[in-house]
């Protein structure tokens, strides 16, 4: 088995006050952990065991639903923890900033588009910034634990930044106020990591 359950790259209370300690702890040790455990159980003894996440997602329509839901849940949270940081916030620089300006006109216009994707996703899901197959940036959202790497997704690409908008990601602190959580998220974005993901996706 190639897969390992990751440690958080910071303490549970590191993202306070934007994301509270209890939310982080339950999110990581219960939700994320359960996706990982169920995913590894679902692929154990199958051909999928030796494949990469990317390869599994590329043919997810042929896999059992448990692989789609739990594999997505495992991968998406890995990305989410990585692109957050207690020292996050601000704006991207370099090539990523140029690509955002080229695609969306400005950083503010990009933010608005991403906020809309996150706020308007009805029910459980994620908002994404991805690099599509033509190497252009794109913003979209997905239901539940789907992501842009999956062949079932209508906006395919390589996700470089994701925002979890399942209620479990924010309900203890924000309850029904999802837009406040989305607003707080920008104080935590680790643009260095998103830039790194961007460079990798271009290759």
């Amino acid at each position: 088995m190639n897969f390992e359950f990751p440690q958080l790259p910071y303490a549970y209370d590191a993202l306070e006050p934007h994301i509270d300690k209890m939310t982080m702890e339950i999110h990581h040790t219960k939700h994320h952990r359960a996706y990982f455990d169920k995913f590894t159980a679902a692929i154990q003894g199958t051909d999928l065991e030796s494949k990469s996440m990317e390869a599994i997602f590329a043919e997810i329509s042929k896999a059992p639903l448990a692989v789609r839901n739990n594999g997505g849940g495992f991968y998406n949270h890995n990305l989410f923890w990585e692109i957050l940081s207690p020292k996050g916030g601000g704006e991207p620089t370099g090539k990523l900033a140029e690509a955002i300006n080229t695609k969306f006109g400005s950083f503010e216009a990009f933010k608005t588009k991403f906020n809309d994707a996150a706020a308007n996703r009805f029910g459980s899901g994620w908002a994404w910034l991805s690099v599509d197959n033509d190497k252009n940036l794109c913003v979209c959202s997905s239901a539940n634990q789907d992501n842009p790497l999956m062949d079932v997704h209508d906006c395919k690409g390589t996700p470089i930044m994701g925002l979890d908008v399942w209620e479990h990601a924010y309900y203890l602190k924000y309850q029904n106020r999802r837009p406040d959580y989305i607003g707080a998220f920008w104080n935590l974005v680790n643009w260095n990591k998103v830039s790194e993901n961007f460079e990798k996706a271009l290759k």
Binding site: I26, N69, F122, G123, A143, E167, H168, Q175, N176
Partner: protein, 289 residues
Amino acid sequence: MALLSGFQVKIKTTMKKNIFSILLASAVILPFGLLAQTAVKSKTKTEQKPVTAVLSAKSSASIESAFTGSGEDWFIEAGKAVFPALPYSYEALEPVIDKSTVEIHYDRHHRGYFNNFMKAVAGTDLEKMSFYQIFGNMTDFPAGIRNNAGGFYNHVLYWSIMSADGGGKPSGKLLDAITRTFGSYDAFYQQFNDAAKTRFGSGWAWLSIDFKTDELFITSTANQDNPLMNTEGKRGFPILGIDVWEHAYYLKYQNKRADYVENFWNKLNWQEVQTRYNDYFRLADRLNK
């Protein structure tokens, strides 16, 4: 409002026990019913009937609000919908569902669906369509209608089939139907719990009556969809629904949805579920199945 609702529940319970209290109950509840009617009338001056007149006269709940979760709700025109009172106080479902969850769920989430729905139908042909018609033709409408009409209606049903003194088991014709379809109450209980626990992401689990066979069936739906919508593979008349969006249980149960689902039964008002079951057969000639 919470106090008022709690009082009304007491009256309803008494009514079932003592026929003489009906007069008292009417005298107490009627003024609030009239207030609701007045508010609706002022918006729709040309309408002959007040909303409550559409409802069955025998239901005390119909007086306190136009939306009660009863079968007649399906035939109310969307433009005349009113946001119903919660039929009990916010803390009435403790310890199964905590006060804070009920308050936010009812006053923020449910009210949000209602407000968004009313905004979406205002000035459109949908104002004159019943919920039953809208759900039956859901594929004709934008997602905003589907999500908010469902969110409004599903919660009305949800609140209506719980009570402070719920629990126990069904009886009579409903129990017969459950036994006929599932083999036993325990088998039904298991199947319903499974549907509620395994719905991935936001959604609902339902016990409904199949339009084709008049028999019961269990399904779950995503987000705010429900079994009346023509987006569903198997359609029917929902008589029991449990909300499994995380907002329904997260403050108290967090990731432990299974505990919420199992505790839910302790607040389930089987009498109301039985009433929904009877509604279906009573209203059969109005259901264009």
